[in-house]
C-alpha cells in the first residue's frame, strides 16, 4: 500500500513548474486572507512565481514520460509551456493597474490566473484522456470565474455566463468522446489508442468519439464554427485577462489537437486532413470577414484571433515533423502581439463596461506616443508586416496564410489610421497608466519587433522540435 503514496522524485521534478504555479496561487490566497496589508505584494509575487516556473521549465531537460506515462515532457511541451508562461507573465503585469483602477481585490484574481496556467500546462502535457479532462476542467473553471471577475459589470457577468454555458456543453462533449473511445478500445491512454485507430478498421463509435474530442478543443481554440463565445466573452471579460484567455488555452488545445491528429493522420486517410482544412478555411474566412465589420476593438481582436487560429491549423492539415516549427513560432508571435494589444486596450479604455470603440482612439497616437507605437507594432504584427514576428510566423505557415492575410491587414490598418490620422474625439479620463502595464505593452511590442528582426536563434531552437519527432 505504501507504494502508492510515494511519488518518485523524478516525477516530482517533472511536475515542478506546475507545482510552483499552483503553490504560488495558494500562497497568494493565504496572503490575501491573512495579511490584507500585503496587497501590493501579490502582483510581484505571482509574476515572480511565473518566472520561477518558467526557469524550471526551460532549465530542466525534457524528461519524457512521467507518472507512469500520464504526463509527457518533450521539446514541444516545453515550447508551448514557454508561450503559456509568457502570456501569463504579461497578463499579470497588465492586470495590476487594471485591478487598482477598477478597485477590485487582487488575491483571487492572481490565484485563479496561476491555477489556470497550471491547468493549461497540464493539458498540454497530458497523454492520457482523463488526465487531459481534469486539466481541461481545472483551466475552464478558473477561466469562467475570471471572465466574470468584474462583479459589478453586467457585461462581465454576461461574458462569464455565455462562456460557462457553452464551455459546460463542450466539457460534456469531451467527456462523452472519451467515454466512447474508451468503450471501443478499452484504454484512455493516447498511445494505446494509436495502434487501434491506425488499423483502418475503426468503428463508427470511435470515430464519433474522436470527432467529439476535436470539437471540444476546436471550441477552446475558438475555431469557426465553434467560435461564437469568443467575441462576447472577450468584450465583457477584464482586458488584461483576455490577453491570457486568447492565447494560453488555445496554445494548449493546439497541442492536444496535434496529439489526437497524430493518432489518425499516419494512415494516410485524407478525411481528417479535410476536416482540419475545413476548420482552418472557415476560421480564416469568418474571422477576417467579420472582423472587418467590427467597431469594437476587443471584438475585432476576437475575430482576428479566430482567423489566426485558422492560420495556425494550416501546418496541422498535413501533420509531419515540419508542422511543429510554424506552430510554435506562430503561437509565440500570436501570444506577444495579442498580449500587447490587449494590454494597451486595457490601459486606454477606462470604462470596461462600455464598448471599446476603435473610433475613440482617434488621435491618441500623439497623446500617448509609447502606447500608440506599441499598439501599432502589435497591429502590424497581426497583419503580418515585416520586420515583426507576425511576418516570420506567417512566412513559415506559407501560402495559405499569406493569401488571406490581405483582409487581416485591412483591419489592422484601420486601428493605425484611427490612432494617427483622425482628430481626437474624447479626453482621457480615469485612465491609470501604471508602470507594469506599460512594461507589459513594451515587452510585447518590442519583443515582436526584436524577434521579427533577428529570428535566427528562435528558429534554430524551434527547429530542434521538428528533428525530435
Amino acid at each position: 500500500m505504501s507504494e502508492i503514496y510515494r511519488i518518485p522524485s523524478a516525477d516530482l521534478a517533472a511536475l515542478m513548474p506546475e507545482l510552483i504555479l499552483s503553490g504560488t496561487g495558494v500562497l497568494i490566497l493565504l496572503l490575501d486572507a491573512f495579511l490584507p496589508r500585503a496587497q501590493r505584494l501579490l502582483a510581484p509575487l505571482s509574476a515572480a512565481g511565473t518566472l520561477y516556473a518558467g526557469w524550471h521549465l526551460v532549465g530542466a531537460a525534457p524528461s519524457g514520460l512521467s507518472f507512469g506515462g500520464l504526463l509527457e515532457s518533450s521539446l514541444l511541451t516545453v515550447a508551448i509551456g514557454c508561450v503559456v508562461l509568457i502570456s501569463t507573465f504579461l497578463a499579470i503585469l497588465a492586470s495590476a493597474g487594471y485591478l487598482r483602477r477598477e478597485r477590485l481585490g487582487g488575491g483571487e484574481y492572481y490565484a485563479l490566473l496561476l491555477w489556470c496556467a497550471t491547468g493549461v500546462l497540464l493539458m498540454g502535457r497530458a497523454t492520457e484522456l482523463l488526465t487531459l479532462f481534469v486539466a481541461l476542467e481545472l483551466l475552464s473553471i478558473c477561466l469562467y470565474s475570471l471572465a466574470g471577475y468584474h462583479r459589478q459589470l453586467s457585461v462581465g457577468t454576461e461574458a462569464a455566463i455565455k462562456y460557462f454555458l457553452l464551455g459546460a456543453f463542450v466539457s460534456a462533449f469531451v467527456l462523452y468522446g472519451i467515454a466512447l473511445l474508451y468503450g471501443e478500445t478499452g484504454s484512455t491512454r493516447i498511445s494505446e489508442l494509436g495502434p487501434y485507430l491506425a488499423t483502418g478498421d475503426v468503428s463508427a463509435l470511435a470515430v464519433l468519439g474522436l470527432l467529439l474530442l476535436i470539437c471540444g478543443f476546436a471550441f477552446k481554440m475558438s475555431l469557426a464554427p465553434f467560435h461564437a463565445w469568443a467575441p462576447d466573452t472577450y468584450q465583457g471579460a477584464p482586458s488584461p485577462f483576455v490577453a491570457f484567455l486568447s492565447v494560453a488555452p488555445k496554445a494548449a488545445s493546439a497541442v492536444v489537437l496535434v496529439r489526437l491528429l497524430a493518432l489518425v493522420m499516419p494512415d494516410g486517410s485524407a478525411t481528417w486532413s479535410d476536416l482540419i482544412a475545413l476548420l482552418a478555411v472557415l476560421s480564416m474566412a469568418v474571422g477576417n470577414l467579420v472582423a472587418l465589420a467590427q467597431r469594437d476593438i476587443k471584438r475585432m481582436l476576437a475575430y482576428s484571433g479566430i482567423a489566426h487560429m485558422g492560420y495556425l491549423l494550416v501546418p496541422l492539415v498535413v501533420l509531419g515533423p515540419g508542422s511543429y516549427e510554424p506552430l510554435v513560432v506562430y503561437l509565440l508571435a500570436y501570444a506577444l502581439m495579442n498580449a500587447g494589444a490587449f494590454t494597451v486596450v486595457s490601459l486606454l479604455y477606462a470604462q470596461p463596461g462600455e464598448q471599446h470603440l476603435i473610433s475613440e482612439l482617434a488621435g491618441w497616437g500623439y497623446r500617448f506616443p509609447l502606447l500608440g507605437v506599441c499598439l501599432t507594432i502589435c497591429m502590424l504584427s497581426l497583419g503580418g508586416i515585416p520586420p515583426t514576428l507576425g511576418f516570420i510566423g506567417k512566412y513559415l505557415i506559407f501560402v495559405q496564410a499569406i493569401d488571406s492575410g490581405q483582409l487581416a491587414l485591412a483591419l489592422v490598418m484601420r486601428v493605425v489610421y484611427t490612432l494617427y490620422m483622425r482628430p481626437e474625439v474624447r479626453e482621457p479620463s480615469g485612465l491609470l497608466l501604471d508602470y507594469p502595464g506599460r512594461i507589459a505593452a513594451v515587452l510585447a511590442a518590442f519583443g515582436t519587433l526584436a524577434l521579427g528582426t533577428l529570428p535566427g536563434p528562435l528558429l534554430d531552437w524551434v527547429k530542434r522540435l521538428g528533428s525530435a519527432y
Binding site: P387, L454, D460
Partner: protein, 532 residues
C-alpha cells in the same frame, strides 16, 4: 582618396544613418522643439549624402558586378542572409536617394508646421527603407525593406497631406500592398524551386537561399510556365509601383495629397523601385517569360506614354499635371527596358535618374509656389515671371529637362531609349516620339499659362522670388540636369556592366525561347496536312 570605404561596411552605414537619426529624434528630442528637429534631421540626411558620395568615386565600373559587398548570416534556418551590395544601377539609385533626401527635407522646413517630430522621424525611416531596397542582395531582405518603406510613406501622406489625404493614403497603401503580397508569392516560388521544389516541379536541390545572384543563375533553366506565373506575380508588384497603365490610378491621388517632400520622394525614388524591380528581377531571373509577355509589356508602356501625356494635358492642377507626366515618363522607362537591347536598357536606367531629378525638381517648384499662394491651379496664375524671375528661370530649365531639350538630361535618356526601341521594332520608337511631342506640348503650355501673359490675378502682385534656402535645394538638381545633359559618360560607364549582364541573359533566353516556340509548329504541320 576614399580608400577607406573598402575597409568599412559603407552600405550599411549609409543605410542606417537615417535610422539612427530617427531613433535619436524619438528618444532625445522634444516634440515642441520643431526647429531643432528639422535642422538635426536635415543634417543627418546631408551627412548621409556625403557618406554615400565615396560610392560614386570608388565604384569601379570594370570591377565586379556587385561591389561594396557585405555578407552576414541572418536567419540561418531559412537560408536568409544579410547581403548588401550595389551594382552600377543600384549605386546610381542609391545616390539619387541620398541626394533627394536633403533636398526634400529642406523643402519641408516651411511646409510642415505641425507634428514636426513625427514627420521627420517618418521621413528618416523612409530614407532607410528606400536605401535598403536598392542595396539588398537577398530577396528576403529586399522584401523586408520594401514593406518597411511602405508604412512611413503611408503616414506621410495620411497625416501631413492635403484635404483628401486619408483617401489617398489608404489607396496608396492598399494598392502597393496587394502588389507586394503577390511579389512575396513569386519570391517564395523561386525559393522553393531553387531548393526543394513546389507544385509538382522538382526542385534544383540547391541549399535554401534567397541570394539574388543565385536566382539570376537559375533564370535560364526555370521552366517557362513557372516563369510565366512568377513573372505575372512580380509584374503586379512592380507595375503598381512604377506605375504602369492600368495600375496607375493611385499615383495622382497620392501625389496631389502628399506634402511636397512626400511627392518628391514618391516620384523621385519610390517609383524607381518598380522599374528597378523589373531590371533587377523580372528580366534576368525570368527571361523566357519576358520574351513571352513582351508584346503586353510594350503595349502597356506605350499606352502609358500616350495616355499619361493626354491626361496631363487636360489637367488644371499643376501637381496633378506633373503626376500624370510621371505616368508618361515612366512609360518611357519601361519601353526602353523592354527594347531588351543595351541602348534601350541604358537609356531606361538613365531615364530613371533623369526622371528622379527633373520630376523631383518640378514637385519642389510647385511646392514653392503653393506655399506662397496656397493654390496649384494653373488658372490662378499668369504672368508671374516678372515677379519671380529666378523662379521662372529655374522652372524653365527643369521644364526643358523634362521635355528633353538637347544639352539637358532628358534628351540623353529619351534619345537613347528611342534608339533602343527603334532597333527592336521601329514603330515602337514612333509612339515614343509621339509621347515626346505631347510631353513638350503639355509642359510648355503649362509654363506659358503660368509665367507669361498679362498678370490677371491681383493676388499674384506681391509674390516673392526664391529665397536662399529654396535656391539651395533647387540648384543641385539644375546642375545635375546640365551635367547629365552635357557629359553623361560617367553615368553610362557605371551602368554598362550590369546592363550588359542583363542583356546577355535575355538574349541567351531569346534563342532557346525561339527554339521552343518553333518546335510545336514543326510537329503540327505534317499532322494537319492529311486532314485537309
Amino acid at each position: 582618396m576614399f580608400d577607406w570605404v573598402h575597409q568599412v561596411p559603407i552600405l550599411s552605414i549609409v543605410c542606417y544613418v537615417p535610422l539612427i537619426g530617427a531613433l535619436f529624434v524619438v528618444f532625445f528630442m522634444k516634440g515642441s522643439n520643431g526647429a531643432a528637429i528639422k535642422k538635426f534631421a536635415t543634417g543627418v540626411v546631408t551627412l548621409d549624402f556625403f557618406l554615400s558620395l565615396p560610392l560614386w568615386f570608388e565604384f569601379d565600373p570594370q570591377g565586379a558586378l556587385f561591389q561594396f559587398r557585405e555578407s552576414l548570416p541572418w536567419i540561418a534556418s531559412l537560408g536568409v542572409r544579410y547581403e548588401f551590395g550595389v551594382d552600377g544601377i543600384a549605386m546610381l539609385l542609391v545616390l539619387l536617394t541620398t541626394l533627394l533626401g536633403p533636398l526634400a527635407f529642406l523643402s519641408s522646413w516651411s511646409a510642415i508646421k505641425e507634428r514636426e517630430k513625427e514627420y521627420y522621424v517618418f521621413m528618416l525611416l523612409l530614407q532607410t527603407g528606400m536605401l535598403g531596397v536598392f542595396m539588398a542582395m537577398d530577396f528576403f531582405l529586399f522584401y523586408v525593406f520594401w514593406e518597411v518603406m511602405l508604412l512611413p510613406m503611408y503616414f506621410v501622406i495620411g497625416v501631413w497631406g492635403g484635404p483628401r489625404k486619408l483617401y489617398a493614403a489608404i489607396k496608396f497603401f492598399l494598392y502597393t500592398l496587394v502588389g507586394s503580397v503577390l511579389m512575396l508569392l513569386g519570391i517564395l516560388a523561386l525559393y522553393f524551386y531553387n531548393s526543394t521544389g513546389l507544385f509538382g516541379y522538382e526542385g534544383l536541390g540547391n541549399p535554401r537561399s534567397f541570394f539574388i545572384p543565385q536566382f539570376h543563375e537559375i533564370g535560364l533553366s526555370l521552366p517557362p510556365e513557372l516563369q510565366f506565373w512568377i513573372f505575372l506575380a512580380f509584374f503586379v508588384g512592380f507595375a503598381i509601383k512604377v506605375p504602369m497603365f492600368p495600375f496607375h490610378t493611385w499615383l495622382p491621388d497620392a501625389h496631389v495629397e502628399a506634402p511636397t517632400a512626400g511627392s518628391v520622394i514618391l516620384a523621385g525614388v519610390l517609383l524607381k523601385m518598380g522599374t528597378y524591380g523589373f531590371v533587377r528581377f523580372s528580366l534576368p531571373i525570368l527571361p523566357h517569360a519576358t520574351w513571352e509577355l513582351l508584346p503586353w509589356m510594350v503595349g502597356l508602356s506605350i499606352v502609358g506614354i500616350v495616355y499619361g501625356a493626354l491626361v496631363a494635358m487636360a489637367q488644371k492642377d499643376m501637381k496633378k499635371l506633373v503626376a500624370y507626366s510621371s505616368v508618361s515618363h515612366l512609360g518611357f522607362v519601361m519601353l526602353g527596358m523592354f527594347a531588351l537591347n543595351p541602348a534601350g536598357i541604358n537609356g531606361s536606367v538613365l531615364q530613371m535618374i533623369n526622371h528622379g531629378l527633373s520630376t523631383g525638381a518640378l514637385f519642389l517648384l510647385v511646392g514653392v509656389i503653393y506655399e506662397r499662394r496656397h493654390t496649384r491651379l494653373i488658372a490662378d496664375y499668369g504672368g508671374i515671371s516678372s515677379k519671380m524671375p529666378a523662379f521662372a528661370t529655374v522652372f524653365l530649365i527643369i521644364t526643358m529637362a523634362s521635355i528633353g531639350l538637347p544639352t539637358l538630361n532628358g534628351f540623353v535618356g529619351e534619345f537613347t531609349i528611342l534608339v533602343g526601341a527603334f532597333h527592336r521594332v521601329w514603330w515602337w520608337a514612333v509612339w515614343g516620339a509621339l509621347g515626346i511631342v505631347l510631353g513638350a506640348a503639355y509642359m510648355l503650355w503649362m509654363y506659358q499659362r503660368v509665367f507669361f501673359g498679362p498678370m490677371t490675378n491681383p493676388e499674384n502682385e506681391d509674390l516673392k522670388d526664391l529665397n536662399g534656402r529654396e535656391l539651395l535645394y533647387l540648384m543641385p538638381l539644375v546642375i545635375l540636369c546640365f551635367w547629365i545633359g552635357l557629359y553623361p559618360k560617367p553615368f553610362f560607364r557605371a551602368m554598362e556592366k550590369p546592363v550588359d549582364y542583363v542583356v546577355e541573359i535575355v538574349e541567351a533566353a531569346q534563342q532557346t525561347t525561339m527554339a521552343v516556340t518553333e518546335e510545336p509548329e514543326a510537329v503540327r504541320l505534317p499532322e494537319a496536312a492529311p486532314g485537309q
